[in-house]
């Protein structure tokens, strides 16, 4: 094909005799955004690791710009202009933007080894200009937002004369506004003819930005299709191999008395006058942009951060929460948005993670009762299917969705009255998402009060009985299920007043 930039043919790869990829085809054309889709474990990562030279394929060959290209190391990939913007960015925080972009290839005065700083800053400024980024090359990277860091990575890749860009979940940590900036940048890259491989779990984005989509499932190539030819349901069916009849299985639950009540909660410069309640059997969705103060409110309620004023009541009784242990004792559970930082002990086993918050109940005095511990875990894995080799598998070797289920199991083991979920489905695949929604619906039906923070509006709309919208540290609006559109929520979050 004339405008074909990259062709990966018959790629196979096995680890320890197990096939991760079986004869996969992948073809990218000039100037297109090509979405690579599949559930976690479908082989997307392995395919991209092969493309970036981190892993060698057992079979198959790669043709890049018309020539066969054996990619035997990450250096080879970089030299040929294959660059990846990683899910987890890691620039050096204490160095400036300019130093980060030119790390390892700083312009010198001749060959003296002394860095030509004026030239370094000038070249950087030119690059930033090109992408219309209003940033000073002398700014330290630690002062940048996540989105800005990501832009920086893209600029860096372009400065390497990237001929193929791979973006892995680029929007997972971006606000709605920042996503727009990213999409704008992607358009610019397309105009330059740079093809982009785009990996994301957010279907809305794929339909907005991608030209074509290739689906992998269980290490096998399923199809490559123009995006216009697909509906969302068809795409999901291809990914999971079965139709997901209803992603949001929200059932009507009997809504009872208020369990958690928050009154005039304030923390200076973070949030103020937060007032809401959540009732038993109710799912309360909290929408808003990144930085609206949603997570901060929940952290304060859970005793991670302090608050300056206000009152929290549990079952109508004023609660004194100074540390997480206090909140836990009152029957509150918090699944944080960052499961690796705050949710899990990655190097320890599934079992140890699941029971970490419940060991008092599972011990006789100092000693852990091994049998009760295993029984408690088995009971959990009966309700929540975690794909694992056994309870002793370390959590770090599980997929994102399964890790999230372990965090959920840890808290559900305590039988909380109030379950707070902060971005519960971020970065996990469609199948696991559906399972988590199912679980939430079941828990609400059994009388649990659930608070769900989410930046994905379809999720908020699909699962919540009631929706609060937060912005700039305040509650901007409150809506009942089915009485509001996505646009109205967005408008309310950005500035307009909602119907309170």
């Amino acid at each position: 094909m004339a405008d074909s930039v990259l062709e990966m043919r018959h790629i196979s790869k096995a680890f320890h005799g197990v096939h991760a990829l079986k004869g996969v085809h992948f073809e990218v054309r000039r100037g297109e955004v090509h979405a690579l889709m599949g559930e976690n474990g479908a082989g997307k990562s392995t395919l991209m690791r092969i493309l970036t030279g981190l892993v060698q394929p057992d079979e198959g060959d790669i043709v890049f710009y018309g020539r066969p290209l054996p990619i035997d190391s990450p250096q080879t990939a970089l030299r040929h202009g294959i660059a990846m913007i990683h899910q987890e960015l890691n620039p050096i925080p204490e160095m400036t933007i300019a130093e980060n972009i030119f790390l390892g290839r700083e312009p010198e005065y001749g060959k003296t080894g002394f860095v030509n700083k004026p030239l370094l800053f000038r070249q950087t400024a030119e690059l930033l200009d090109e992408f219309r980024l209003k940033l000073d090359p002398r700014t330290k990277v630690k002062q940048l937002s996540v989105a800005q860091k990501q832009m920086l990575e893209i600029v860096k890749a372009v400065s390497y004369n990237a001929r193929l860009l791979i973006m892995d979940e680029p929007t997972s940590a971006l606000s709605e506004e920042e996503v727009q900036t990213l999409f704008h940048t992607i358009e610019k890259l397309k105009q330059r003819g740079v093809p982009i491989v785009y990996i994301s779990h957010r279907l809305e984005e794929i339909f907005k930005i991608a030209d074509r989509v290739t689906v992998l499932r269980d290490g096998e190539y399923i199809s490559t299709t123009r995006i216009e030819a697909l509906s969302k349901d068809e795409l999901i069916t291809m990914m999971v191999g079965r139709p997901l009849s209803n992603i949001f299985p929200k059932e009507a639950a009997k809504i009872g008395k208020p369990i958690l009540e928050v009154e005039n909660l304030s923390r200076s410069n973070v949030f103020s006058d937060i007032q809401f309640n959540v009732r038993s059997g109710e799912i309360l969705g909290i929408a808003g942009l990144m930085g609206a103060g949603r997570s901060e409110v929940m952290r304060a309620i859970f005793g991670i951060d302090r608050f300056d004023a206000g009152e929290i009541r549990v079952d109508g009784i004023p609660a004194h929460i100074r540390k997480p242990a206090d909140a836990i004792r009152l029957g509150i559970a918090l699944v944080t948005e960052d499961r690796k930082e705050l949710g899990l002990v990655l190097c320890r086993s599934v079992k140890e993670n699941m029971t970490l918050a419940s060991l008092n109940a599972l011990s006789n005095g100092l000693f852990i009762n091994r049998l009760s511990e295993i029984a408690a875990c088995s009971k959990m894995t009966g309700d929540i299917t975690v794909k694992m080799s056994g309870l002793d598998q370390t959590v770090q070797s599980l997929s994102g969705g399964n890790q999230q289920k372990v965090v959920l199991a840890k808290w559900l083991m305590r039988k909380p009255k109030v379950l707070i979920l902060d971005e519960p489905t971020r970065g996990i695949d469609v199948g696991a998402k559906a399972e988590i929604y199912r679980l939430m619906s079941d828990l609400a039906r059994d009388g649990m009060a659930i608070i769900m923070i989410s930046s994905e509006l379809p999720e908020i709309m699909g699962m919540s009985d009631r929706i609060l919208v937060m912005g700039e540290g305040r509650i901007k609006g409150e809506f009942m299920r089915g009485q509001v559109t996505q646009e109205e929520i967005l408008e309310c979050a950005i500035g307009g007043a909602g119907i309170v």
Binding site: T46, P324, A325, R329, V345, E352, S363, S389, S399
Partner: protein, 328 residues
């Protein structure tokens, strides 16, 4: 029981590839091999090595470092480090020595006093680390200097001679063929292994080292657990100091110099991660034995003590490199 389907096996293999797999069996196996290789080598080249006398001799020599290494394992599992234990040993040694010097009948009191002194000093390290967020390296460096000063002031810089037979038994006596310090070491290993594997406290130690913030949010009093870890380490350093005083028949304010480094070396050789969260007492015991066997072997082979240092260093580096590779 859950049976992994082909699909889930594929998924797991893909994911285990992403993260460094650390199978503790492989790790232990690799280290035990190093130890066995050293033993086979030495028994081939020295007739004196594989005798009951020499084995007991090696065990006696390693027990003090062993006790220290077991305590250090706890600290390192929480992603901490304790540089003060050498000095803490000296404080315990001179306090215990001064007690039996005055009243030879008070051996048990002396031992307990030494251990309490160690626990108190380390509780300061622990509090600085857990409550005031001082890096463990710095907190224990400070206590290392302070403790050495205390030992010197307490004795005016002079050793305290010990003649009490019951106290001297601790470091020099045997029960049957087994030296008394070896018995103490064995008991400590068993107790701490039980603490780590069977109790809530042990579980929290691993969890804190693996992810302190996640542990805190799970409602666990992280500061308390950490302070307790340092106190236990201080008790054990105190105990080791008392045994050392008994073995050299005097409480020396300069004793224990550099002992912390041997203990850290043993823990690291034993496969415990300096980042915390991963490691076992069994591993540490193997680490302690590797160092002990090498020391003993080099003596038997008549290697000059100057060269011994170099050989020891190389073997430590080699063992750890081998261990790292076996984990990949």
């Amino acid at each position: 029981m859950y049976k992994p389907s082909v699909v889930s096996v594929v998924k797991q293999s893909v994911h285990s590839m992403k993260s460094k797999r650390s199978s503790s069996i492989v790790r232990k196996y690799g280290l035990v091999l190093v130890l066995l290789a050293a033993i086979v080598f030495l028994s081939l080249f020295s007739d004196a090595f594989l005798t009951l006398d020499n084995i007991m001799n090696v065990l006696r020599q390693v027990s003090i470092n062993g006790i220290l290494a077991v305590g250090m394992t706890l600290v390192i599992l929480t992603a901490g480090i304790d540089l003060s234990i050498g000095s803490v040993m000296a404080v315990a040694a001179v306090i215990a020595a001064s007690i039996v010097h005055v009243n030879p009948g008070l051996t048990i009191v002396a031992v307990i006093a030494g251990m309490i002194a160690g626990g108190l000093l380390s509780s300061v390290s622990g509090t600085m680390t857990a409550k005031l967020s001082v890096a463990p390296f710095i907190a224990t460096l400070a206590i290392m200097t302070v403790a050495r000063g205390i030992a010197l002031i307490y004795t005016n810089g002079r050793p305290i001679v010990i003649e009490a037979p019951s106290f001297l038994f601790l470091g020099q006596g045997s029960i049957g063929p087994v030296p008394f310090p070896v018995i103490v070491f064995a008991v400590i290993c068993a107790l701490v292994a039980i603490l780590l594997n069977k109790t809530k406290f042990g579980r929290y130690v691993y969890a804190i080292g693996g992810n302190e913030n996640a542990t805190k949010i799970s409602g666990i009093n992280v500061a308390k657990v950490k302070i307790l870890v340092y106190i236990v380490n201080g008790f054990l350093a105190g105990l080791a100091g008392v045994l050392l005083a008994s073995r050299i028949s005097s409480g020396q304010p300069n004793s224990g110099l550099g002992y912390e480094l041997d203990a850290i070396a043993a823990v690291v050789i034993g496969g415990t991660s300096l980042f915390g969260g991963v490691g076992t007492i069994t591993g540490t015991i193997v680490g302690v034995l590797i160092i002990g066997v090498i020391n003993n072997g080099l003596n038997l082979l008549d290697v000059s003590s100057y060269y011994q240092q170099i050989v020891k260093g190389l073997i430590i580096a080699g063992a750890v490199i081998l261990d790292q590779r076996s984990k990949r």
